[in-house]
Symmetry: C2
């Protein structure tokens, strides 16, 4: 049942002409007679001829494919970035191969490996939380395959990067809380190995410092994931505190939502008794009651920009300086925090 796809030589044989003539006819080469052209085209259609990209790629040393590696695709955050990339890259005639590293360094290396075996032209990667050296990235770059890092920084690795200013986002959020009268501000942090967690924590601390609010260690609650369950866990711990915080700045919306749930169930008023702010501004977040204040990130644009940089490398721009782009997040104030 597995008929082999039609090839140029199939067409050539049936028409008693040479393969090159067929090739030229299909490419509308000027030096081919109309009659042969139409005969070829007709037969090609009948046979459902599809040019074999494998052969072409082999010949041209170019697959027109780029690989993107993200920790996971189920989150709104990464899937939106992918959308940005996808849109730009498709318009430029490239295909996208999406892979998930699942926060595993080994898996990341493995993916890089297999994708370079299939000769993708370039890479877009958001490193895992376990990625602390860049040998694998460097090997790729040295071999001439461009690679751009996005969202998560991989410090000590000099390459094109498109990041979001997590420090600034966190600072904005916490400053807002302070300005609206909060003083006992808790922070639920994400996995400590992640650059974004560190930067957001840093922003939180600096905002406190700016307003001379002493840092209270107990108010910094580490969790190791991003789902609402972790927010629930953190909030429950918080409920045991002798004195409740008057605000919570969570590492992301998932956590914030879990925390809000516990707080509201306990009969505590948001934002009167405690304000809550998240990060990511997921689509659902504005439909909670109260709607969640959150730090919005330019996800789609981050995808767009990363792709644009990669494509420009692909289009020849050899050894231009590594680009380092820092996108600005924006605080979206809703009713889970007090008014100014």
């Amino acid at each position: 049942m597995k008929k082999n796809p039609a090839t140029l030589s199939d067409i050539a044989r049936k028409l008693n002409i040479s393969i090159s003539t067929v090739s030229r006819a299909l490419h509308d080469h000027p030096a081919i007679s109309q009659s042969t052209k139409s005969r070829v085209i007709k037969l090609a259609e009948k046979l459902n001829y599809q040019p074999n990209m494998l052969a072409l790629s082999l010949l041209n040393k170019k697959t027109n494919t780029i690989g993107i590696i993200v920790p996971e695709i189920t989150s709104y955050f990464f899937s939106s970035i992918i959308n940005g990339v996808q849109d730009l890259v498709n318009d430029a005639g490239y295909r996208l191969i999406i892979s998930q590293s699942e926060e595993s360094f080994e898996k990341e290396k493995e993916i890089l490996d297999t994708l370079s075996k299939v000769r993708v032209d370039g890479f877009l990667v958001s490193p895992t939380s376990e990625t602390h050296n860049a040998h694998h990235f460097n090997k790729l770059i040295e071999s001439g395959t461009p690679l751009v890092i996005f969202d998560r920084d991989c410090t000590g690795f000099n390459a094109d990067k498109v990041l979001v200013d997590d420090y600034d986002g966190a600072f904005q959020a916490v400053e807002y809380l302070i300005k609206t009268g909060c003083r006992r501000i808790a922070h639920i942090t994400g996995p400590s190995k992640l650059s974004i967690s560190r930067h957001r924590l840093h922003g939180y601390l600096d905002a406190l410092k700016k307003y001379d609010i002493p840092k209270v260690d107990d108010l910094i609650i580490p969790v190791e994931g991003f789902t609402p369950e972790f927010g629930v866990e953190a909030a429950k711990a918080m409920m045991e505190f002798p004195e409740l915080p008057d605000a919570i700045f969570a590492i992301n919306d998932g956590i914030a939502i879990g925390a809000m749930y516990v707080i509201k169930e306990a009969g505590i008023q948001i934002p009167n008794q405690v304000s809550v702010i998240g990060f990511d501004d997921e689509p659902h977040s504005s439909y909670f009651i109260p709607p969640l204040t959150s730090v919005w990130q330019p996800v789609y644009d981050m995808g767009l920009l990363s792709a644009r940089i990669l494509l420009s490398k692909l289009k020849g721009k050899k050894s231009s300086e590594a680009r380092y782009e820092m996108l600005k997040p924006e605080l979206i104030v809703r009713a889970s925090s007090r008014e100014l």
Copy 2:
């Protein structure tokens, strides 16, 4: 800067041996002396040799790649299916190319086209809402490329399919509402061209019929999307009704959440005055207040099963009967609906 990747002939030349010897050495062929083997392997590593999959695929007429086409990846629903597929397929040594049709028939055809040009070995597709004929699918199958349809049916097209019993899910939901005393049950439907919308509507209607509850046309509110905004819109319309419904069965969680928001803002009690049930059981849904009752679907398993069927086709199972698998959803009762 673009060094060409090392090839077998690079190694052969530097070692003054033939290409075939190199190839055999790398494959640990028994008829190659240990000394050449180790020399070859060492040089290969030094040169960072990576077998060129393009050449291999061209030779073997097999890419070990499968293509999956979904309407979009930003939803939890589709991205979870993809995870199921990914896990199975990777273990079997296949790569996955993920593409989004964006509910466009044209785009779907286009993707099918380019992916078949790159010679993917098989397809997994969830058709767009615009897909009403299966010429493009059939052409592929006739040419010997296996394809399995999942989640959304494409009626009149006989092929392997893995679906969820949407009718049954809706029926369960509505029957539950009736058993808990609701009589004026509204249904917010999705895009009418989608099989899932029709099946869920059908389940809704049949449940009413079973309990002799007359169908009220006004209570069936059509919307053309799946995001909370559409739920808001529908609920606002509902608020204008002379008599409010005592329950809402929404086509999915997104819509349900938008509707809940409007209802609660209007000071109406959930579930005392109106019960709400969604569909999909998204991760966030249990953190709303009240937590949303929803119809859970075996998303991951759907991915797993679809992939399993495709792989079995790939492994030779020629013309076995088309498989038609109907997975069962399950009602997850939470506090947005009354107790039995």
